[in-house]
Amino acid sequence: MAMNAQGRPSAANENISTPMVETFTGNRALVIEESLIFEKEAFAQTGVDLPEPEGLEDALGGLERAEPIGLPGLSEPETMRHFVRLSQKNYAIDMGPFPLGSCTMKHNPRLNEKMARLPGFSDVHPLQPTSTVQGALQVVHALAHWLKEMTGMPAVAMSPKAGAHGELCGMMSVRAAIEARGESETRRRVLAPESAHGTNPATAVQCGFTVDHIPADETGRVDLAALKEKLGPDVAAIMVTNPNTCGLFERDIRAIADAVHEAGGYFYCDGANFNAIACKARPGDLGVDAMHINLHKTFSTPHGGGGPGSGPTVLSAALSPYAPVPYVVERDGAYELVERLDQAAADGTHADSFGRMTAFHGQMGMFVRALSYMMSHGRDGVKQAAEDAVLNANYVQTRLRAEMTSTFDGYCMHEALFDDRFLKDTGVETIDFAKAMIDEGYHPMTMYFPLVVKGAMLIEPTESESKEELDRFCDALLSLARRAKSGDASAFKASPVHAPRRRLDETGAARKPVLRWRPELTRAAAE
């Protein structure tokens, strides 16, 4: 059965007709319907002007592409309009709160975009002679320095392309370390809480490990005693998110680290929630061996509707020898790029590198943005941001507790976790509540994650929200909660009604997948 992103079914069977005034065009003033580029009968058009080829004799060896490709082309005005109209069907941070727990949707400064577009950064090739890219290498080196300082870790691998790739980097280092110890056959088990993000178990398996669960205690944290039970000579590592996915700081983090180290395992910390503690506390002081940092969360690079991200991974002294190539080293003012394993071995810093994770040197475009953000904020600003993020989350948690049921008592860190107990017997489910938020002008919070909490609603406002904005947000949610309790379930089931689309049939989408414009038509049209 199809699931929505948060692991809950969403069929559009509640066919409550909209009270909207119909129009001939189907448009609603500024909400304009837009067809697919493939439906515009434009297979003979183009929106670029290129010079006439000279008609030289080719050297394609008789393998030229004869058959039509089936790619529509639109003039520039049509193209602009097509994508502008599409964009207007999206919600975005620049429009309002985007309180997705665990996603850290914070403000994306445009200065970052401007800096990343300096030709000196954007128009540089990764394989240019290093003498011609000293400034680019300087950026990588400077960012690495900021990350190491902020985390208190001795090394950082810059090439991972996103958080999950950073997890891969960290766990590959663990795997390499264990192999170096000759224990690769015996140490196969990785422990992770059930509340972990899906990428954690998926990563462990991709590194050839098996996954076993760490039980949680009633306060939403790792159950230290139970963890110790689970530890043993077959445990390669634990993967713990801190602050964890319930928005809580793992109080026993040092004891956890000690226990794991005692058992001969490594401590992988999922750093997706680093925004809560950046410049407030350093993983390096807490016994962590590896942690990825989502630059697209903590350090303000835009999510871009799903990516690109960047996941530099800091490593402890124990794991740093296994870090991937390439990496940048500075020797009296000059920056060098270490790409070769023999160089690495000689160079010493990452003597037993496990190899290469990606072509080239990582997400340079994101590095520039993150560095621009860090320089702008400085250590004082980053710390203030962490404090404001935590304060905002607690403010929302406190205000919403008036009508909603929060899962754990006490303060939270950067995100506030609620469950669906307050909706009991209302006929309204978490997903209905979330969809009703859409009509009110808000993006829903993360739903049904972490999986350990029934009907979870995980709210992360980040530091980018003003008090005024948070108050409006809380007022709206409290009103919805009251309406739900007043027994107006049908309104929730029908929602959203004001969005460009009402609820979509995800079950149907998965049952008969249509994943591209009908190829037969493409071909026909192209011929």
Partner: protein
């Protein structure tokens, strides 16, 4: 601080509401000796100051647009229309999250559907996903996918596969216990990869045009692979080549992966790029990454959603087809916008122009004493052999303001045989003046 809306009064009011005396009450769970460490980093700075310091770093790099530039080997200097960069900077695209709430994410979802459709058409395959990190990681995922499909554990990589792609694929496949065979690079373009395929082989991975620029007929390789129950993974690093060369789909590939940077995306010193991933419908449920599908809403209007997520980590966790989560969404948008502007007509012409610039460059180089052009066939990139160490020559020419190409000495440090080769790329941005600059500088250098 300009990014922080809370004023001091706000903070005080809010602390009162949450019932905390000071902010650190909220950090009580952090070991007190670890709280608020000394951090040796600068304080905040204004825009002007940040612009100045980053600007000075940028000024230390030689840009591709600055003069003669013939470097490719996995990333290419193409002209990107201004419309593309404008559209990807729209707040609604730039600052939105993964489209998990389809009612207010149709903009992202529809372009992903269009992207998948374009990539499928371009590769000649039945379906494509919503992007991977880049070509190299897409290649590694393809080998893992082939393993899941064939239940075999031997990965055969062509010697013509970009060495970075080979390295990444090996790193990932060996982790799950596969054994990875990499054929010796054959710079003449006569590699017999078929000989390496056996019954244990899960897939054979072949790049076309290969890293040396040779254009290959994949059909015989596909047939041989299929005979042994292996899959053919076709790889490309130059998406523009698909506007001129027979599609991998038409030559029997089972999985097609490649780098999409050439369309809509800047060089960016290596990233972010966009990995393209296409395959046959029958293999769909083993594919990694996000998929966008068509459906209807409660009013029966067409709409789009992320679908088949039961393959993915956030649902299937340790049974997922991959751990990938964030992908290259915005780069995919850039690809889609540029491809929409090009269309088939524009893409084919762009490809022809690229090919012609390369033909002219090759023609100009081969008359230089000591220079040997190794390709019989090529698209916009070919390989030359010179009598000197390629890195030395490349560095010397760089000092002359000419970026001559990719040195074999750097890409294959452990293959002395490739020490003296240079991979030379030309695109629609190459001018006759560039070609002259290259030839005269190289002539100079070689005598």
């Amino acid at each position: 601080m300009r990014y922080l809306p809370l004023s001091e009064q706000d903070r005080q009011k809010m602390l009162t509401v949450v019932g905390a005396a000071q902010i650190d009450d909220l950090f009580a769970d952090v070991p007190s000796d670890a709280l608020d460490p000394e951090i040796d980093l600068p304080l905040h700075a204004g825009e002007l100051e940040v612009e100045r310091s980053l600007g000075s770093m940028a000024a230390r790099n030689r840009t591709a647009g600055e003069g003669a530039f013939f470097l490719g080997a996995g990333a290419y200097k193409h002209h990107v229309p201004a419309t593309v960069d404008h559209i990807i900077q729209r707040s609604e695209f730039l600052t939105s999250y993964t489209p998990y709430q389809p009612e207010i994410a149709q903009g992202t979802l529809q372009y992903l559907f269009e992207f998948q459709s374009q990539v499928a058409a371009l590769t000649g395959m039945e379906v494509a996903n919503a992007s991977m990190y880049d070509g190299s990681t897409a290649c590694a995922e393809a080998a893992l996918m082939a393993r899941r499909i064939t239940k075999k554990t031997r990965v055969v990589l062509s010697g013509g596969l970009h060495p970075h792609y080979a390295a990444v694929t090996r790193t990932n496949s060996e982790l799950v216990g596969d054994d990875v065979v990499i054929a010796d690079p054959d710079i003449a373009g006569d590699e017999d990869i078929i000989a390496l395929i056996d019954d244990e082989t899960s897939c054979v991975v072949v790049q076309n045009p290969d890293v040396f620029g040779h254009i290959r007929d994949l059909q015989p390789i596909a047939d041989a692979a299929h005979e042994k129950g292996a899959l053919l993974v076709a790889v490309f690093t130059e998406a523009v080549s698909l506007g001129a060369i027979k599609s991998p789909g038409a030559m029997g590939a089972d999985i097609v992966v490649g780098e999409g940077q050439s369309i809509g995306n800047a060089l960016n010193f290596g990233g972010p790029y966009v990995g393209l991933f296409a395959t046959r419908i029958k293999y769909l449920r083993q594919a990694p990454g996000r998929l966008c599908g068509e459906t209807v809403d409660a009013d029966g209007r067409r709409g789009f959603v992320l679908t088949l997520s039961t393959r993915e980590q956030h649902i299937r966790r340790d049974k997922a087809t991959s751990n990938i989560c964030t992908n290259s969404g915005l780069c995919a948008l850039a690809f889609t916008v540029h491809m929409t502007l090009l269309g088939e007509v524009g893409l084919r012409r762009m490809a022809t122009l690229n090919h012609e610039k390369a033909l002219k460059t090759a023609r100009a180089l081969k008359v230089i004493p000591g220079v040997e052009v190794l390709n019989k066939t090529f698209f916009n990139e070919f390989t030359i052999r010179i009598p000197k160490n390629s890195q030395t020559v490349i560095d010397a020419l760089a000092d002359e303001g000419v970026i001559a190409g990719a040195p074999g000495a750097r890409l294959w440090p452990d293959h002395p045989a490739l020490e003296n080769i240079i991979i030379v790329a030309a695109t629609e941005c190459t001018t006759d003046a560039d070609i002259n600059a290259l030839t005269s500088a190289l002539t100079e250098e070689l005598n």
